[in-house]
Amino acid sequence: MTLQLSVRSIVKRYGGVVALRDGNLDIQSGEVISLIGANGSGKSTLSKIITGVVAPNGGQLLLNGHPVHFSNPQAARGRGITAVYQELSLVPDMTVAENIWLAHEPLHLNFRVNRKAMRKNTEDLIALFGGTISERLQPDTLVTALPPDERQIVEILKALSIDPQLLILDEATASLDSSQVNRLFSLIKQWQAAGKAIIFITHRMDEIFRIADKATVLRNGQSVGTVDIASTSEREIVNMMIESAATPDDIKIPVVSEDAPVRLAVQNLGGGRVEDVSFTLRDGELLGLGGLHGQGQEDLLLALFGAIPYTGSVKVSGKEVHYRHPRDAMNDDIAFVPGDRGREGLLLVRSIIENFQLPSWHKYGALHNRDAAQRDARAMADDLQLVYAGMETPVNSLSGGNAQKVVLGKWLLRQPKLLLLDDPTKGVDVGTKGEFYALLKRLTEAGTAILFYSSDDDELLGLCNRVLVLQDGRVRDTLTGERLTHSELVAASMGATNNHEVA
């Protein structure tokens, strides 16, 4: 059975905000199409309309030439169309098998759930990713007990379980490590050969060139064109996405001098996934944290911020400290930009000013001086070139890049001396990334010490002069100078040591 889907002039409004003004897309069996665009360009909205999760306000879907209307996700699934969503659609209190087969469980006599068949089928699906996942991922494991990458894999397997004709992968690689991404790509090739159609949404340019046949570009809710990957360049695609672009190569942060004061000295730190980590960080230095996803980078930052318990010695400006709460760290001028904006960084339904000032309210007196708070917040917003309607508008009306500016701005308002960054450019569009790089440079020049984790290797190599590579919670290698290369970074991430022995 072949499938041919055309999306024609789709319009979607949320309240007064237009998410999609003219969405178009064509795909047929055996094709891999990449859907790309800056944040807030409408990619996710478009994919949710195709799968029936969101109802469009206008436009048409043509399936094999006939207009279709999916009133709910089941309807789309009935026609072999499903998606792996960006925000996970798993039920936390159910097992891996229960999640994968939810709503299409194998049944005995159309009545009882056939648990044996369910487990067997799940094991078969899990085997697809065999070798890239841990022992934890079993049919009977509760989804809450899994780390983000393995949840993402369960999500992929769940989509696969209906044997879809059209599969949408929405940022499905964002939380996967490179071996898992490689496995996914070889699976995509197999599915493609077997006649499935795949829509692939990503922020990573290299992935588009590795896997897609064509790329359809969205800008401000409008499709601006489709190009053949074989006959295009990264530059061309970036130009279609935005007007101007910055890459980290344009900005290199200068090497910090040896006599700059030490801001942070860490000895044998352990906690969460982190084991026995030691390093120092000087004022004005941008120290990179690298490695595969989930190797303890986030826990290291959380521990230094006092958000999770830890052991070992931490000295801030020469003073031995032991933080039990983020407030303790904040009192020592430390700030932390978390990796998951929506869940850890923002009060989504509250106003911009309340988000900006949340860590700083006590500065404005027992009865707040609203004017001063407004003034400071406005100045910060202008400084960060935040695009906003008013200080009282809720942050969930902002695009991804602008929302991230609010998270960053709320800490800059405190003028931190030590800034801990957990993947601050994840899910941020190219234009805003450029602004962030310039900002990091300004901050280090002003003497701020920055500990910077990024899942984007180009970013680490382009910006930092020193990168700690973590694996299994330990520092595998410290890259400086000429060793700041992709191959060294990858080698260290995979556990190879200085002498290129496999650990």
């Binding site: 996700p73 798993l90 039920v91 209190d93 159910m94 939810l102 709503a103 469980e105 759930v113 769940k158």
Partner: protein, 323 residues
């Protein structure tokens, strides 16, 4: 690894801690009241307990599905009033059967109304069922302005007597557990837990979330009907317009004592049954331990709070020792 397995056992069988608690309080009960396990005493206790057990079972289905039903108590009042206005001491078996069917239908209808308002008008369950509880109270008062009613004597005698030397309530509880173990294997149960744990994820997966939500309240209505039937059997048909009102909060406390999380997606009816028993046994202990009359309420409340605080307290102590 061994402790991990133990954790998993507790995570999957949420009522285990409650069961241990029940065994402990039963032990204490035996010390202060030696005849507690005699057939006559056991039968009496379980018989008066059955209405609340049924109500808590319905409540736990709603809670597992992510809701809450504050109207169950007034629903029992309304349905009891309905029953005793239809059934008199002289009713024929056919008339009684018809009344039972009608009461069950009325309970399910009331639940359907609750469910439709919660699921389709998308109103918060707690406040919605609080509002409908006024309606049920009003109807109860209309039907039964003055306390009264009675049912054929043979029926209440049958209900009070053990069958084959086993209390009747035992059969009822066994039936409930059988009902649940069958239900638990169906696709509907998967939908129920998915809806309660994460409505959005369930919806995106194709679970008919709204329909499932409605059904939980229909179950609750049906169990409220069964509760009112057993309550009337137990009282011999003597009712009043607010006879069940106080059972609402007890049903919620029982569900929580049984290890079911109030935010939904977890737990089961075994926990609710155990929870009701714990509540009752605590009251028994207080009574037989000769606690002064005026102190009984306080002691009862303190024990319940201690039971609820137990797991949290252990965690807190373990954490501070770990430091």
């Amino acid at each position: 690894m061994k402790s991990l397995n133990l954790q998993r056992v507790f995570a999957r069988n949420t009522y285990l801690i409650s069961f241990i608690l029940l065994v402990i309080v039963l032990g204490i009960n035996y010390i202060v009241q030696n005849n507690v396990f005699e057939l006559r005493v056991l039968n009496n206790n379980l018989r008066t307990l059955l209405p609340l057990i049924l109500l808590a079972v319905g409540q736990s289905i709603v809670v597992i599905g992510g809701g809450l039903d504050l109207s169950v108590g007034t629903l029992v009042s309304m349905l009891s009033a309905l029953l005793v206005t239809w059934v008199t001491p002289d009713s024929t078996p056919d008339q009684i059967l018809l009344a039972v069917v009608l009461v069950c239908a009325a309970g399910m209808l009331a639940g359907l109304v609750n469910g439709l308002v919660v699921a389709y008008l998308r109103l918060q369950p707690m406040i919605t069922t609080y509002a409908t509880s006024f309606i049920f109270s009003g109807i109860a008062l209309l039907l039964l302005p003055r306390p009264g009613g009675s049912i054929p004597r043979d029926l209440s005698t049958f209900y009070r007597s053990p069958l084959l030397d086993i209390p009747l309530a035992f059969y009822a509880i066994a039936l409930l557990l059988l009902f649940w173990s069958v239900l638990r294997t169906t696709r509907y149960a998967q939908y129920l837990y998915a809806t309660g744990s994460s409505g959005a994820a369930a919806y995106a997966t194709g679970v008919p979330v709204r329909v499932v939500r409605v059904t939980t309240y229909v179950w609750s209505g049906l169990f409220a009907a069964l509760a009112s039937l057993t309550l009337m059997l137990s009282t011999g048909g003597a009712s009043q317009a607010n006879i069940g009102d106080d059972m609402t909060l007890d049903s919620i406390v029982a569900v929580v004592l049984g290890g079911t999380r109030l935010s939904g997606g977890q737990g089961g009816i075994a926990g609710a049954i155990i929870g009701v028993m714990i509540l009752r046994v605590i009251r028994n202990v207080i009574f037989f331990a000769a606690v002064p009359t005026w102190s009984q309420t306080l002691v009862n409340a303190l024990i319940i709070i201690a039971a609820l605080a137990g797991p949290g307290l252990i965690r807190l102590i373990r954490r501070s020792i770990g430091r």
